[in-house]
Amino acid sequence: MSKKVLVLGETREGALRNVSFEAIAAAKKISGGGEVVAVLLGEAVSEFGNELVAYGADRVITVEHPHLKSYTSDGYGQAFMAVVDQEQPEAIVFGHTAVGKDLSPKIASKLQTGLISDVTDIEGEGDDAVFIRPIYSGKAFEKVKLKEDGVVFITVRPNNIASLEREERSGDVSSLSVDITNLRTIIKNVVRKSAEGVDLSEAKVIIAGGRGVKSKDGFEPLQELADLLGGAVGASRGACDADYCDYSLQIGQTGKVVTPDLYIAAGISGAIQHMAGMSNSKVIVAINKDPEANIFKVADYGIVGDLFDVIPLLTEEFKKVM
């Protein structure tokens, strides 16, 4: 049976997030030839509708309201449920983002359905779709499916499911007006700590530093290499706790979960909580003074040495060939 699938589109710094395009690709698989309807919630979001169509949405529904300027589970919950009531979807896909993680359990609860979160791969299509997700801090994987009929609901981990080719297509972008009332949370302020530019969770190349970086200045050679490769700088909790960098750079169970094409870990020992956030990376390079460091167990390539020797040389070497 083909399914109608709703996808929540998300924006960041005035642009759609890649994970929304990836969610559309996941929705296509689940739909088994059915319709993919993207949903945009916010104060003024309709301008992004056509871009979601270009990435594969058949239709877009926007809900615009001053109360949707900042995310709250009450505001977004009411708006999204209004779309659900109108569309009666058979499946829903969110990104496994701050918003997706916070909102999806509420919607799943209201629909009394199962929610399969943090999906990294989908096997099969339509009714036969089975979802793969990491468990036990990324040490194992499970294959999960919905038991009975009901709304199939998943959240997808950024950078794991390939988005579809962008194509000029046309699709209806319509708006739904929803009364949004009784918000129990008032957002006072958001202290932006994350660097502008490359979003860590979507970066293709990440140069991450740990306690071995030894100081704030120690991150500079890492930043230089990241800039050269068009990537982003990340960090272990050890480096954040030591105040060498901001917590917004933290990668791992508590921080960002990343899946870049290339992850270079410099001066990071490889604690399980760190690996939970990066072990799915396509290629991992470890640079560490200690040949016994745990990080070498997940590394594709390793250099045993001082990162302050290795990283600047790497930058020089890449400059020669790029």
Partner: protein, 257 residues
């Protein structure tokens, strides 16, 4: 203040994990309180000490989970409740857990419910918000700071590295993120006292729950270890020659640059 903490006994993922017959082997494994729940317990105790009231820790599980409940009592919680599902529930998912917890909590008039933002075993992060929805109370996830001033609750939460400052009110459910506090270790007197603190054991019958009501919505078909990576290549030789070898490997073999 009437405070509840939702706690899960989890496999310690720092330990070696063995999978056989499509399942995680639990024999001989080390079990702990889910680390993010420890932050929730610590915060509950701090709030009680500042505002008065009582902290009750609640878990779903079997008799083995008593150990983790006693640890929470030794940290300073006042009461513990074990909802023992051993005989009634074969497969549990987040729907099941949230339903049972909400049925238990619905007549408790909790002012504040705390939970971890995620459990390190299943990693879904759903149970807290689901419970709040079933109880029809507000929730705030991944919090790093909590202040209660009269009717107002001031919270800072972590949103992908940014800090969101917000205000809300009780009754409320929050889920704890690392950074909220430093959980205390149980003291020796704490451990002694914990032995005498009340630990109530309930079954689904006691909560008027039918087995059918809590049937899992999702099904795990298989659990497996990631395909064994080829042993990584530790490069050799002088550092400059290792570096140029690495660059050419990344370009020609791994093809990521």
């Amino acid at each position: 203040m009437n405070i509840y903490v939702l706690v899960k006994r989890t496999f310690d993922t720092e330990e070696k994990l063995v999978v056989s017959g499509g399942q995680i082997q639990e024999d001989g494994a080390e079990f702990i309180i889910n680390p993010y729940d420890e932050y929730a317990i610590e915060e509950a105790i701090t709030v009680r000490d500042a505002h008065g009231g009582e902290v009750t820790v609640v878990t779903i599980g079997d008799e083995e989970a008593e150990k983790q409940l006693r640890t929470a009592l030794a940290m300073g919680a006042d009461k513990a409740v074990l909802i023992n599902t051993e005989d009634d529930v074969e497969e549990m998912d987040q729907f099941t857990a949230a339903y049972i917890l909400a049925e238990y909590l619905k007549d408790k008039e909790a002012d504040l419910i705390l939970a971890g933002n995620v459990a390190i075993d299943g990693g879904s992060g759903q149970v807290g918000p689901r419970v709040a929805d079933l109880l029809d109370i507000n929730y705030v996830t991944t919090i790093t700071s909590l202040e209660i001033e009269g009717e107002t609750v001031k919270i800072v939460r972590d949103i992908e590295g940014d800090a969101e400052e917000l205000e809300t009110s009780l009754p409320l459910l929050v889920t704890a993120q690392q950074g909220l506090n430093e959980p205390r270790y149980p003291s020796l007197p704490g451990i002694m006292k914990a032995k005498k603190k009340p630990l109530e054991e309930l079954e689904l019958d006691d909560l008027d729950i039918e087995e059918d009501d809590v049937e899992a919505k999702t099904e795990t078909i298989e659990v497996y270890l990631p395909p064994k990576k080829q042993a990584g290549r530790i490069l050799e030789g002088e550092i400059p020659s290792q570096v140029s070898e690495l660059v050419s490997l990344l370009r020609s073999e791994a093809k990521v640059i």
